[in-house]
């Protein structure tokens, strides 16, 4: 080898190392809307796993806060970057609520990616295509599905009500023993109110499927007046966690909760082991959380790879079902093989797959959702 060739080689090697260094220094930004457990899921489990499989990549994860407020912040951040005309947005992956996913799609903030990733066809549920009336097919992957149900203490309520109608009678007979958190203190209360509307209005199909009719809300006065009188015998709880706290302290014996939160608390010993769940008829809503890739994410390819990992059967089984007690985002049959039967059955013990199929509802489409909340403010709280 001549001296010149040697020099060339060493320069090339040096360049290669330099470039490799540049590749290795990549960072992807993952924003998560939702409660602390969801932020923990990304920072403690998914992020480290992705970093391990992709040496040199750093996952920078941040939570934007619980509830729709967290998704609202992500929306505002992306919207601001779009308005500023930026071509490289500093969010590569975000976890958002169902309502906001539709809103982001309509504002052209989302990139289409489900067709690009290997796990894209592992989900066939309707929630992967429609988000509260907005077509999001291709733009989202469900991270998990969540469901609300009524938690109760079987020692004190051996025969819990199984429909909203029976619950109404039970509450009248046992004032103060049922608790929920209204609509301003978290989504489990909102979900209970939506279930009430589905049960009493007979308008579930149009509320959850559209088309939107602004006049529909004018007919809800009586249903909400009934809810107001129902509320007189209810104990109000401060938040989703507040309902579980009060159940656990014995201040109430029944109340609506998120199934995943319930099982997580029970596993941590923060909810007594005897408390059980029941999904009452005609049904209560649940919702998925979605992974999205913003339309102009600076590291969109890494973002897609991240979601591919997050929606793979092993991660869905290990992380979503086993560690966090959520219902899987991809179809359940794909995770069953990666789980011990006991872990799989635990999740479906109180709320059976049949219950989920028949009584697991979706939330109403955006404008009806707003109308329900505002009508509650107007007729029940005012």
């Amino acid at each position: 080898m001549t001296k010149l060739a040697l020099m060339r080689t060493s320069v090339a090697v040096g360049l290669a190392i330099g470039m490799a260094g540049a590749v290795h220094a990549q960072t992807i930004n993952v924003l998560t809307a939702g409660s602390q457990n969801m932020v923990d899921y990304v920072t403690d489990y998914l992020g480290p796993l992705f970093e391990e499989q992709n040496p040199g990549v750093t996952v920078r994860a941040a939570g934007t806060g619980p509830g729709d407020a967290g998704s609202q912040k992500i929306f505002e951040k992306l919207d601001a970057q779009m308005s500023a005309g930026s071509d490289a947005w500093d969010v590569d992956v975000a976890v958002v609520h169902q309502k906001m996913a539709g809103q982001m799609r309509e504002a052209d903030l989302l990139g289409s990616y489900r067709g690009d990733i290997a796990t894209g066809d592992l989900v066939t549920r309707a929630t992967a295509k429609m988000a509260l009336g907005v077509d999001v097919d291709g733009y989202v992957m469900p991270m998990f599905h969540s469901q609300t149900a009524i938690a109760y203490n079987p020692d004190l309520v051996p025969d819990p009500p199984s429909t909203y109608e029976e619950l109404k009678e039970w509450v009248a007979a046992n004032p103060g023993q049922f608790g929920y958190n209204g609509i301003k203190q978290g989504m489990s209360g909102v979900s209970f109110v939506v279930g009430w509307m589905y049960a009493h209005s007979g308008q579930e199909d149009v509320l959850s499927g559209g088309p939107y009719d602004p006049a529909l809300k004018d007919g809800w006065g009586d249903i909400l007046a009934e809810l107001k009188s129902f509320n007189e015998n209810v104990t109000f709880t401060p938040g989703n966690a507040g309902t579980l706290d009060m159940l656990n302290r014995g201040e109430i014996v029944m109340g609506p909760v998120w199934v995943d939160m319930f099982y997580t608390w029970q596993a941590d010993g923060r909810v007594a082991p005897n408390i059980k769940l029941k999904l009452i008829g005609p049904g209560m809503p649940g919702q998925p959380m979605y992974y999205i890739v913003p339309a102009k994410a600076a590291n969109a390819d890494l973002g897609k790879k991240f979601i591919e990992l997050a929606t793979s059967p092993t991660v869905q089984a290990e992380g979503i079902v086993k560690n966090f007690n959520w219902y899987p985002g991809i179809d359940a049959e794909h995770v069953e093989d990666s789980l011990e039967p006991a872990d799989f059955d635990k999740l479906f013990a109180d709320v059976t797959p049949d219950d989920l199929a028949s009584k697991g509802k979706v939330f109403p489409i955006g404008p009806f959702f707003d109308d329900i909340l505002e009508s509650y403010e107007r007729h029940v709280q005012n």
Binding site: G67, D68, A69, Q72, F75, Q103, N181, G182, I183, K184, Q185, T235, F236, T237, P238, G239, G242, D245, M246, R249, G250, E251, D370, L373, E374, E377, R378, V380, Q381, N382
Partner: protein, 284 residues
């Protein structure tokens, strides 16, 4: 050159340069957002000016507006009472141990953020919470007689617990800097401690008390964590409604209208504060 020198020596230029950073900060972080939210409160979604946001705000939240005024006013009165009691005992107390213990204890809530205070109260004031368990444990009440304080009373208790030390700190400082000789002579003439506090000390520290209470009023008006974590009932405070308008509906118009109504409330209080300053002919 001459004129440049003159400029350099002109005091007004220098004084302006000195206050400029403060002015810019106030302008960017306070005046601009204030103006922006006021404009948004009067703007229709489809453009143009409107009162619709205010009509909706009063339509849906008039009870909450009233509730907010009552809760914050009641808390302010109680804070004033306890702050004067603490300041008075620190100034006039005769047992040095009791004074030392009180002095050490009363400031603690100052270092606890509102949200932490709210979380503490959530488990302390609940029906089967720490407070009721203590009462039941000591045999004063039966478990069935207990009740939850997680309603308007919980908000008032948390506000008073959290803000009293702040006002007490100001008031105790003002009381300590008073001329002791007047207090001593009153003592010598046989005046009771209560009478000294009410007739001699209070009139002299009144401006400090008013300033402390007004600042507390404004702080309490802005707290979201305490009402949202403690009060699950209806009505609730305006901050909760503002957060709900934004988080549930993305509706900044009505949220800003509610904010504007809050400004008006604090504006009235600020006006009292300024008037007090003018009447005394000095900076408040």
């Amino acid at each position: 050159m001459m004129s440049f020198h003159r400029v350099l020596h002109d005091e007004r230029v220098w004084s302006f340069a000195l206050v400029a950073p403060a002015l810019v900060t106030v302008g960017l972080l306070f005046i601009y957002p204030l103006g922006f939210s006021a404009v948004s409160a009067f703007s229709a979604e489809e453009g143009g000016w409107t009162f619709a946001n205010f009509i909706k705000a009063f339509d849906l939240y008039s009870n909450d507006i009233l509730f907010t005024v009552v809760i914050v006013s009641l808390s302010t009165v109680l804070i004033g009472f306890f702050a004067i009691a603490i300041g008075g005992y620190l100034t006039l107390g005769e047992n040095p141990y009791a004074v030392a213990i009180l002095k050490w204890l009363y400031r603690w809530p100052l270092f606890i953020p509102f949200i932490v205070a709210a979380q503490l109260m959530r488990t302390f004031l609940a029906k089967n919470g720490l407070m009721n368990n203590l009462i039941v444990g000591s045999g004063l009440l039966e478990p069935m007689q207990t009740q939850s304080f997680l309603d308007w009373r919980g908000i008032v208790i948390t506000f008073v617990w959290k803000q009293t030390p702040f006002v007490a700190l100001l008031v105790a400082g003002a009381m300590a800097s008073l001329d002791r000789s007047m207090i001593e002579s009153a003592r010598n003439l046989g005046a009771s401690r209560i009478r000294i506090l009410v007739e001699i000390i209070l009139p002299q520290v009144r401006p400090t008390i008013v300033v402390g209470l007004i600042l507390s009023f404004v702080v309490m008006m802005s707290v979201l964590s305490v009402p949202i974590m403690i009060n699950a009932q209806t009505p609730t405070m305006l901050t909760v409604d503002m957060a709900f308008r934004i988080n549930a509906y993305g509706d900044y118009g009505v949220a800003n209208a509610l904010g504007f109504i809050s400004y008006l409330m604090t504006g009235v209080v600020a006006w009292i504060y300024l008037r007090q300053g003018v009447r005394q002919g000095a900076a408040p």
